[in-house]
């Protein structure tokens, strides 16, 4: 093993240790919440951490097999964040900015009873 090879392994290994710390902190934020949007942002970061891990693994083992996996993961993270932000969060939480001229949909339903 040449000294250059050892230096590369040390640097990428140090990066892998940082990635383990990053994944741990991100999972802690996902567990704590408090809202589902916090978890969406944390999941986005976790996908980025997984992509970085695959990149480090590709350098250590000197192959390009995992590059398509990185490509698919970067698309999946986007799709997950958009779908959760669009549908789940707006359905679960009451929207607090209301127009003064329009009746509140919730209270108008109660008035008809």
């Amino acid at each position: 093993m040449s000294p250059v090879h050892i230096a590369v392994l040390v640097m990428v290994g140090l990066g892998a240790v940082l990635l383990v710390g990053a994944a741990t902190l991100t999972v802690a934020r996902m567990a704590r919440g408090p809202s589902s949007l916090d978890r969406v942002v944390a999941a986005d970061v976790l996908v980025a951490v997984v992509i970085a891990t695959l990149a480090a693994e590709a350098i250590i083992n000197d192959h390009s097999t995992t590059l398509p996996v990185m490509l698919v993961l970067s698309l999946l993270g986007f799709a997950g964040a958009v779908s959760i932000a669009r549908f789940v969060a707006e359905r679960d939480l009451a929207i607090r900015w209301r127009h003064a001229d329009r009746p509140d949909p919730d209270s108008s339903g109660r008035r008809q009873q």
Binding site: G15, L18, A42, V49, M70, S74, A81, A85, E90, R96
Partner: protein
């Protein structure tokens, strides 16, 4: 030391830098007080970190096929990260999860007030307005 060795070292250093950005983002994600500032921290590994990682992998692999895939990864991340961040931020503002005391300026609130919108009751606020009770009885 040959040119390939230098490229290997530079690539490994770029990957280390990208990993450090991931760690900084995770630290910010855990320490920052509300969703908007956590989003600010989360953008770092998604844009700059992914570009650094792609450059590092390409410098150490040095093939044209990996170059195409890595450029695609970086370009897709650059195109999609602002869209998802915008959607999350929009939902955050609409559901009023913004810490208004932490904002230096809130131009959107001024514009919404001018357009006739106002901040409604909190989701857990179950008290009825008094004119409703008078009409029902």
């Amino acid at each position: 030391m040959s040119a390939g060795d230098v490229l290997d070292l530079v690539g490994a250093f770029l990957v280390l830098l990208g990993c450090f950005l991931c760690f900084a983002a995770a630290l910010g994600l855990l320490r920052f007080p509300d969703v908007i500032s956590r989003m600010h921290a989360a953008t770092k590994p998604q844009t700059l970190g992914l570009i650094l990682l792609a450059a590092g992998v390409e410098l150490s692999l040095r093939t044209w096929s990996s170059f195409g895939t890595l450029v695609l990864i970086a370009a897709l991340q650059l195109a999609t990260a602002p869209v998802s961040a915008h959607l999350v931020g929009r939902t955050v503002y609409r559901t009023d999860q913004v810490r208004h005391d932490l904002l230096a300026r809130d131009d959107l609130a001024v514009d919404l007030e001018a357009a006739g919108f106002h901040l409604g009751p909190a989701p857990d606020d179950e008290t009825e307005p008094p004119e409703d009770d008078a009409r029902l009885s």
